[in-house]
């Protein structure tokens, strides 16, 4: 069998249709196991393709044989491939974690796993697709699964959060669709590579309008301030692993789209500054809001928003090193925030309000989970020798190269805020008074395995960042090198005349 990026999309879609049938006719358990197999397969594809592109450069695959720019194509560049691999790995770990997650009760677990799988698939689709309309479609897939997962618990708060998400998300859909329409009327194509090639043909005022529409539309998914009102509620009301999925996968896809629009579609420098300021403001507001939170999940949500702001800002700096840093940040955020959500949801398992005070003294009762949470907290604030430090260092030195002293100061000042609230949690965890009434939930083995895997990744990358930097360098090059992208997408698939 030829491994192709199409399998990323096709296999899960197929599985999604098959699962209800399988579970009905063969075994119920299959509904929960099959998504894992699908994810494993995705990881397998990722590894194979990543090895391949080491030689070939960019792989461009056309769905259903229509050639670009008319057909719908999937582009597996080092950049998108990196993100796709990351998403499939995180998706797998989240599946592993949520397998047997007691709260997702048996009846619904079928739905849960299908939805989760579809969400990841949608996100991977966003990353891989080379077609702007397709991107919109995948975004809708992701968004709709995300809405339903947000209100998965079928409680009042969950429904409210889901509704809010839906409300804001529909704005995003409308705006993106509008932008695509305008784009299509102007250029008559939906292929991103071709759009990038022809973007200078659009009248300037229209071009800026399109950019604004895209920015706001994808900005909603990328949690940019002030478009991120949905995020805290969605994070905190969805099941624990879904919070991890939001942070590790969905938002990444949004950022990808945003970055793709700015870097590849319209190479406008004003947009870089916009990213910097937008990211900075997002970061400041989110982190300072996180400081005042007493709810652990909300705190993590705000922290996640802040991190995304940081990522946007890093992209905004725009140099090669900054983009490496930004990708590194995305990677780190994906693994660390997933770990935090995962371990955090076991730590607050039986607490209704998910208050930080409920963690008091759990360090003794749940030693391993607590240590993992501690590692996550240390890593996310950027303490060496954990992985978070390196990404911060990359971004900062990139900023320093551009002599953005004020920016550095602000980032670090915000980091101090971050340190305060994370360390507050850690110290409550380990040094708080033990509350004997709290019933703890021992994590299942598979959840433990997935968390430990994340923890070890954090440590390994922290001590020896070289394992990841090579990938990042390639990815960054792929992102900035617009010409190669256009050329390889268009030429690889064009029939030889």
């Amino acid at each position: 069998m030829v491994i192709s990026p199409v399998h990323y999309i096709a296999v899960p879609l197929l599985a999604a249709f098959l699962i209800p049938l399988l579970s009905k006719f063969i075994h119920k358990e299959l509904a929960r196991i099959v998504p894992g197999i699908v994810f494993l397969y995705s990881i397998f594809i990722s590894i194979t393709l990543m090895l391949q592109i080491g030689d070939k450069g960019i792989i461009s695959e056309v769905i259903a044989g229509w050639q670009a720019p008319w057909g719908i194509n999937l582009v597996f560049s080092p950049f998108s491939g990196f993100l796709a691999s990351l998403m499939s790995i995180i998706g797998f770990l989240i599946w592993l974690y949520s397998y047997n997650f007691k709260k997702i009760d048996k009846e619904q677990s079928q739905k849960y796993h299908i939805l989760q799988m579809m969400m990841v698939t949608g996100a991977i689709g966003i990353v891989l697709t080379g077609d702007i309309f397709n991107l919109f479609v995948f975004m809708e897939i992701t968004a709709i699964t995300a809405y339903s997962l947000t209100s998965f618990y079928r409680e009042r708060d969950g429904a409210e959060a889901g509704f809010k998400y839906l409300l804001i998300g529909s704005f995003a859909s409308v705006l993106i669709l509008l932008a695509i329409m305008i784009l299509y009327t102007q250029l008559g194509t939906l292929n991103m590579a071709e759009i990038a090639q022809k973007s200078h043909l659009i009248p300037t005022s229209l071009k800026t309008t399109i950019i604004v529409l895209f920015l706001v539309g994808f900005g909603i998914e990328a949690e940019m301030f002030p478009l991120n009102g949905w995020a805290p509620d969605a994070y905190s009301q969805s099941p624990g692993p879904i919070g991890a999925a939001f942070a590790g996968i969905v938002v990444k896809a949004g950022v990808y789209a945003l970055v793709r629009v700015i870097f590849t579609l319209f190479d406008i420098h004003g947009a870089y500054d916009f990213l910097i300021y937008g990211g900075l403001i997002t970061m400041i507001i989110a982190e300072t809001s996180a400081l005042a939170q007493t709810n652990l999940k909300r705190m993590l949500a705000y922290s996640s928003i802040g991190q995304m702001g940081f990522v946007l800002m890093a992209f905004g700096i725009g140099t090669h090193q900054a983009i490496v840093g930004a990708l590194f940040l995305m990677f780190n955020h994906a693994i660390i925030k997933s770990l935090l959500f995962m371990s955090g949801s076991y730590l607050t398992y039986n607490s209704l309000t998910k208050q930080i005070s409920a963690l008091s003294g759990l360090g003794k009762k749940l030693p391993l989970v607590s240590i993992l949470f501690g590692i996550g907290a240390f890593a996310i604030v950027g303490l060496p020798p954990f992985s978070g430090f390196w990404s911060k260092l990359y971004v900062l030195s990139a900023a320093a190269d551009k002599n953005m002293l004020l920016l550095i100061m602000t980032i670090l000042a915000v980091s101090i805020v971050e340190i305060i609230y994370y360390f507050r949690v850690v110290s409550t965890l380990y040094y708080g008074k033990q509350n004997p009434e709290i019933e703890i939930q021992k994590p299942s083995i598979n959840a433990m395995v997935s968390m430990i895997a994340l923890g070890i990744t954090i440590l390994v990358v922290g001590v020896y960042p070289d394992v990841i930097t090579n990938l990042l360098e390639n990815a960054a090059t792929a992102l900035t090198d617009k010409a190669t992208y256009i050329q390889s997408v268009l030429t690889q698939n064009l029939p030889i005349n």
Binding site: G270, L383, A399, L405, S427, G432, D466, T469
Partner: protein, 623 residues
């Protein structure tokens, strides 16, 4: 295998093993920690030669490790004190909970400090610096007391320091495209002409660890609340890491200045130098004033540490040969005597249960060796001849008077050091003298593994008093490494540039002769008629203190002094920081309210943002 890696590996392995063994037995775990630190020290001092360097890349960054004479000075403190403190903590941590975590972090702190000394590039420097910070954070809150306040304060200030350092580091990278310290120095990264922010930011970073005003507020509680065997390291060695960095940066500034090259017109290093020196002196004064008001021996020592670091800062900031020498000498000696004193406090805490001086008194008969250590260390701390502390103080004063024109600084420093006598006395009196408490009737002397390190340190203090040259040797070499030339020293004669000197051998001779003569006379004379009575047998106008009554004067000890110096107690940096903190917090509370939780509001945000963007699109995206 390379000795650098070997040393760090031994230490890391020690940390890991003692963590694993912590559940089984605290003694075994402590022994492992001690053995790993001791063997690392042995390895360090036997295997590593000066000026050996290794280079290796990590994450596209060229890292360099090495050891030079300057780092050697601090290695002396870190590894020497580290070995003794780990030996000490075997008994100190006995029968305590969570010893695994303690030893893990303890060894990790030592490891990171050794790493800092090894680091010849900023990245590994910063990495080790941060490891040191968070591992010490975990130790500070180890006792579970006031975790929120102490830990958060420590973390905030450490983060401020670390991040200003990080800013400077990335700026060096940005401007000079190097992470190597030596390259940065060559390129003039610390010079004021090129970029005045880099040295200042670095200095802020180091000043936090050196607890210089106004960044010192984390220190008192952090020092006093961590387990004492760690505070030995914390105050004795870890604060010296700040000194190390300060010395590096400051000396760079001043040697540059001494060459009389261009100085920035508006902001010359002289101002920085004076500012820092004054900050150091004010730190010393304020910390001393607070130290003598403390009722808890640990807190007293904590404040005293801050004051001593203030002297060191003054010495470094003045930046002449003698003053830097004094500062480095004081740094080592402070490590020794403050280590000894914290060990004493720990011994008292372990044996008597508390170090609150209003609750413990009259331990001298019960813990004679501990008292002896305390006495020697206090004499050194007070800077009274003939011990090591005096040597450092003497050089500091002489350098201030003879080599710089900062006469008024001398007065401040002197005021602080005279007031230090008060708390020195308070410490000895509060714990060891006075009448015995009923509650501490059955107190025994500390176990031998605690006594030995204490006695070793007190002997060291005496030796450095008689032969300070032992320490001058590495210090002079280190100073030559960082840019001074022709650093002269003598085995036991201290001299200033005016040609005046003190010969410590003569001082010792006189004191010893007089001591022996007087001791023999006073002891032998009327030996039969001399009776040693209990401390309850005192002339209290004939009133007989009952068993449970303790007449020792302990509360409001320096009330008259406090009254006299009342204006100086009115404001405290702590309060100012707290106000800033609460102000920021309410500001942050305001930002939190942006997220109302109302979907309509969010929708309005989105629409408003869209409209705003559409309005501004031309200015934003057209360029």
């Amino acid at each position: 295998m390379n000795s650098f890696f070997l040393i760090l590996l031994i230490l890391l392995a020690g940390a890991a093993i003692s963590f694993a063994l912590g559940k089984i037995s605290s003694i075994i775990s402590g022994t492992v920690a001690f053995l790993s630190i001791a063997s690392a020290s042995v390895l360090f001092f036997t295997q590593l030669k000066n000026n050996t360097y290794i280079e290796f890349p990590l994450g596209e960054i060229q890292l360099q490790w090495g050891i030079d004479s300057f780092g050697y000075i601090f290695a002396l403190i870190v590894l020497g004190l580290g070995s003794l403190a780990s030996l000490y903590s075997i008994s100190y941590m006995q029968n305590k909970e969570r010893t695994g975590i303690f030893y893990f972090n303890f060894v990790l702190v030592i490891t990171s400090m050794v790493g800092i000394i090894f680091s010849q590039d900023f990245i590994s420097f910063f990495i080790f610096w941060e490891i040191m910070t968070w591992s010490s954070y975990l130790l500070i809150i180890f006792n579970k007391k006031d975790v929120k306040e102490i830990g958060v304060k420590y973390m905030i200030f450490s983060a401020i320091g670390a991040y200003s350092m990080l800013t400077a580091i990335v700026m060096i990278k940005g401007n000079y495209n190097t992470f190597l310290i030596s390259d940065a120095i060559q390129a003039g990264a610390f010079n004021f002409t090129n970029n005045e922010y880099i040295p200042i930011l670095l200095l802020i970073g180091f000043a936090v660890k050196a607890a210089t005003m106004p960044l010192h507020v984390w220190a008192p509680k952090a020092y006093s609340n961590s387990p004492m065997s760690f505070t030995v390291i914390f105050s004795g060695a870890m604060s010296k890491m700040g000194v190390l960095g300060m010395a590096l940066v400051l000396v760079r500034i001043f040697t540059f200045n001494a060459n009389n090259e261009a100085i920035l017109p508006n902001f010359s290093p002289i101002i920085l130098q004076q500012t820092l020196a004054w900050l150091g002196a004010i730190t010393a004064v304020i910390a001393t004033l607070y130290a003598l008001m403390q009722d808890d021996a640990k807190k007293l020592l904590a404040y005293s540490s801050i004051a001593q670091l203030g002297y060191i800062t003054v010495g470094l900031a003045i930046g002449t040969k003698l003053s830097v020498m004094a500062a480095l000498f004081l740094a080592i000696v402070h490590g020794i005597f403050k280590g000894a004193l914290f060990m004493v406090a720990g011994a008292v805490e372990r044996q008597a249960g508390t170090t609150d001086m209003t609750k413990v008194s009259g331990l001298i008969r019960k813990m004679p060796f501990t008292f002896f250590t305390a006495l020697i260390a206090i004499i050194a701390l007070a800077g009274i001849p003939p011990l090591g502390g005096f040597v450092g103080k003497w050089m500091l004063y002489e350098s201030l008077i003879t080599e710089s024109n900062s006469y008024f600084l001398v007065i401040l420093v002197f005021f602080s050091s005279t007031s230090a006598f008060l708390y020195c006395y308070r410490f000895l009196f509060g714990l060891f003298l006075g009448q015995e408490e009923e509650a501490t009737k059955d107190v025994k002397e500390a176990p031998i593994t605690m006594i030995i390190p204490m006695l070793i340190l007190s002997v060291l203090l005496m030796v450095t008093g008689a032969y300070p040259g032992i320490l001058f040797d590495p210090i002079a070499k280190g100073m030559e490494t960082i840019g001074f030339n022709n650093v002269t020293w003598d085995m036991s004669v201290l001299g200033n540039i005016w040609g005046n000197s003190v010969n410590m051998i003569y001082v010792w001779l006189t004191i010893v002769i007089v001591f022996i003569a007087a001791f023999i006379f006073l002891t032998l004379k009327g030996l039969k008629g001399t009776r040693y009575v209990s401390t309850k047998d005192i002339s209290t106008s004939g009133e007989i203190p009952l068993e449970h009554e303790n007449l020792t004067f302990q509360i409001n000890f320096f009330q008259p002094f406090r009254r006299a110096a009342a204006p100086m107690y009115k404001r405290s940096m702590d309060k100012i920081w707290n106000e800033i903190g609460s102000g920021l917090e309410s500001l942050f509370n305001f930002t939190r309210k942006i997220y109302t939780g109302n979907g309509q509001t969010y929708a309005i945000f989105v629409i408003a943002f869209l409209v705003l963007m559409l309005l501004l699109k031309d200015t934003l995206f057209l360029n």
